[in-house]
């Protein structure tokens, strides 16, 4: 089983459990992304049908929000803060360093599939800038050395 068949059941369950919820589109999209890591293109018509909306409307919502993604992410998602407070603490140098170490640009995934890199605008960790998060863990006062340590700890966990 691959493609739509492999996640049909999950999506159907999500749609069903959100049936009577007012304003349910964002919660549905979150539930799909939580479970699959992204929102597959072929789920759009199914969502549209269930919500009695057009494909274009659903697509418009997915593409409006930075957090929703339509391609599978790497095993770990690194979110690097680019906002002012982090800039004030050498955040820009950290951005360059991260891209160089991972050999990827924003929104890309490393060739081994381990890490995706996403820009974020404030993680609310500004008192300990610069900040990044990996999956749901936040890291503060990130120097290049600490960046390497953090990345290494996820690589180790993968082995």
């Amino acid at each position: 089983m691959h493609g739509y068949d492999s996640y049909k059941q999950e999506i159907d369950d999500i749609l069903k459990s959100h049936e009577s919820m007012p304003g349910n589109l964002l919660p549905i999209l979150h539930a799909i992304q939580d479970s699959l890591g992204y929102i597959p293109g072929d789920s759009v018509p199914v969502i549209a049908l269930a919500l009695n909306q057009s494909n274009a409307e659903i697509h418009g919502v997915i593409s409006f929000y930075h957090y929703f993604r339509q391609t599978p992410p790497g095993k770990n998602t690194i979110r690097l803060c680019r906002a002012e407070s982090c800039q004030a603490m050498n955040g820009k140098a950290l951005e360059k360093y991260a891209q160089k170490q991972l050999e990827i640009d924003w929104h890309e995934t490393t060739s081994d599939g381990q890490f995706s890199l996403e820009p974020f605008y404030c993680l609310g960790n500004c008192a300990c800038s610069p900040a990044l998060s990996v999956n749901n863990e936040v890291y503060g006062r990130v120097t290049p050395q600490r960046f390497d340590e953090v990345i290494a700890s996820y690589r180790e966990a993968a082995e």
């Binding site: 964002l26 409006f64 957090y67 906002a83 002012e84 605008y121 500004c126 300990c128 006062r141």
Partner: protein, 516 residues
């Protein structure tokens, strides 16, 4: 059993609080000792995190910042009995950063177990709700009006007046919506409340519901705050279990239901009408006003939209009375503001004080100057749409009117500090770029103006027709201020123009010749 406190606040976690907690448990277990580990919120003194507090016979004693490698020596030196150690800090509330604060909204944060309803009640929680249950809706609104509380989310609109509009709006179903989108750089007070004392927000929203006749509330939480999501849901669940939420609040016959909804990474969804669109499951496009959300809000019904801190300030007002709250502050800025100090600052963190303190006191008395040790050159207050303030403005008191008199904004009380290595032309460019990235796209001055703004700043910096392009940039800013539907396009010029006006040399502009 000895109670030991280690924070579960995101920033404490970002510095290794979980590792410290795990290691402490392990070392203690190896020695056959017995402790009760409480994961509390943070006191807000982030340079001391990860912080350990131990409850002793003579009060709480703090140690920090603690790394895992410090734990054996802490234990061996009698930390559990509050004994001395190089990391010993004593009573955290006696430290200068703490003792002059006016902790009204943040009274419990860092003290209690955030998700324990018993702990909340033991520390004066739910007194406000109990009082509110014996008042008429009009009297609840009057207390909030009398307190002088103005919205802490940015626009500083009087909360009592907003509530009164919703109270008087006709409608069977009304809603309370909490704006927990906290998108501004340098702000984290909403996050700290939600992680460190979620019940105070739940109580505030419940009181708001009683005040205006709303039976349902939503917390629209930004996706960047996963720990707040967990804490809020844990707290909401126990509030339901214990009858503080539901169809019959504490046997009063009054209903209030509450749910957390996650945003999806769009700054504009902090704007209240975009937020409502997003909650309804649409793209976060700004709505035209009027009608106000107070009249036609969520799902077309009368809706209170308030910021986290605004709502979390309500319980103390209903507990101690509007006058008590109003007695703090200056001018028309009443009560307290949780100030968030971030960026290039030695003692970054959060402290809550009455309005009226000056920026200089904040930066040097609390903040201890820059982290880098270099001179502080520019300070941005109020998030990415706030003006950059030069040293000559550091004596401005924190007060909504004093700030607007110099075309600055207090916003959400977040302060981002830059030392003299900052390039202000780059910061101005970033402000425009942020608007390109985050504009909802509904109106032209914002959508197109910001793209043009980036181009024009690039030309100025490259020295291409400097005078002409500087004039053009100012025109563009005027158009954005005058022609934008919301403050995204309408205030992006604040950081840009302030950078240009106070730091022209960074744009390569000859100060004497181009000062006008």
């Amino acid at each position: 059993m000895i109670r030991v406190f280690i924070s579960r606040d995101s920033t404490a976690l970002s510095l290794g609080a979980n590792l410290v907690a795990d290691n402490l448990q392990k070392v203690v277990a190896d020695k056959g000792l017995d402790i009760e580990l409480v994961r509390n919120g943070s006191r807000g003194l982030f340079w001391l995190e990860p912080l350990i507090e131990v409850e002793t016979a003579s009060g709480r004693v703090a140690y920090g910042p603690v790394q895992t490698s410090d734990i054996p020596s802490l234990i061996d030196n009698g930390m559990l009995q509050g004994k001395d150690h190089p990391l010993y800090l004593g009573d955290i509330e006696a430290l200068p950063y703490f003792k002059d604060q006016h902790r009204l909204t943040f009274a419990r944060v860092g003290k209690t177990n955030p998700v324990s309803l018993d702990d909340y009640v033991a520390h004066d929680g739910y007194i406000g709700l109990n009082n509110a249950l014996s008042l008429t809706p009009e009297d609840i609104v009057k207390q909030v009006t009398d307190s002088g509380l103005r919205g802490r989310g940015g626009a500083a609109f009087p909360t009592g007046i907003k509530w009164n509009t919703v109270l008087n709006a006709p409608g069977e179903q009304k809603y309370i919506v909490c704006n927990a989108d906290e998108g501004d750089s340098g702000t984290f007070s909403d996050r700290m409340i939600m992680e460190g004392d979620p019940f105070v927000l739940i109580e505030g929203m419940t009181i708001a519901g009683l005040a205006v006749g709303a039976t349902r509330g939503y917390i629209y939480l930004r996706i960047e705050y996963p720990h707040a999501y967990v804490a809020l849901n844990e707290a909401i669940q126990s509030a339901y279990e214990r009858g503080y939420l539901g169809d019959d609040i504490l046997g009063s016959g009054k209903a209030f239901h509450l749910e957390v909804r996650r945003g999806a990474g769009a700054y504009i969804c902090g704007e209240e009408t975009s937020l409502l669109e997003s909650l309804e499951g649409k793209r976060g496009l700004v709505r035209f006003k009027p009608p106000l959300p107070a009249i036609i809000g969520l799902f077309g019904k009368p809706t209170v939209v308030n910021n986290v801190i605004s709502l979390a300030s309500v319980p103390i007002i209903l507990d101690k009375g509007g006058d008590y709250y109003r007695d703090y502050g200056m001018g028309r800025s009443r009560g307290t503001l949780p100030i968030q100090l971030a960026g290039n600052i030695k003692y970054g963190g959060l402290f809550e004080v009455a309005f009226g303190i000056t920026l200089r006191e904040i930066l040097y008395d609390y903040g201890g100057g820059s982290a880098s040790g270099r001179p502080i050159r520019a300070v941005q207050v109020g998030g990415p749409l706030g003006a950059y303030m030069p040293e000559s403005q550091f004596d401005t008191p924190l007060d909504y009117e004093s700030f607007s008199a110099i075309e600055a904004v207090l916003g959400h009380g977040g302060i981002v500090v830059h030392d003299d290595s900052v390039d202000m032309a780059e910061m101005a460019r970033y402000a425009m770029e942020f608007c390109v990235e985050e504009s909802c796209g509904k109106c032209t001055p914002c959508r197109i103006g910001s793209v043009r703004g980036v181009e024009v700043i690039d030309r100025i910096v490259k020295g291409i027709q400097k005078d002409k392009n500087t004039t053009l940039l100012r025109d563009l800013c005027d158009t954005m201020i005058a022609g934008s539907l919301c403050a995204m396009g309408g205030m992006t010029p604040y950081p840009v123009l302030s950078a240009l006006n106070y730091f022209p040399e960074d744009f390569g502009i000859n100060v004497d010749a181009d000062a006008a």
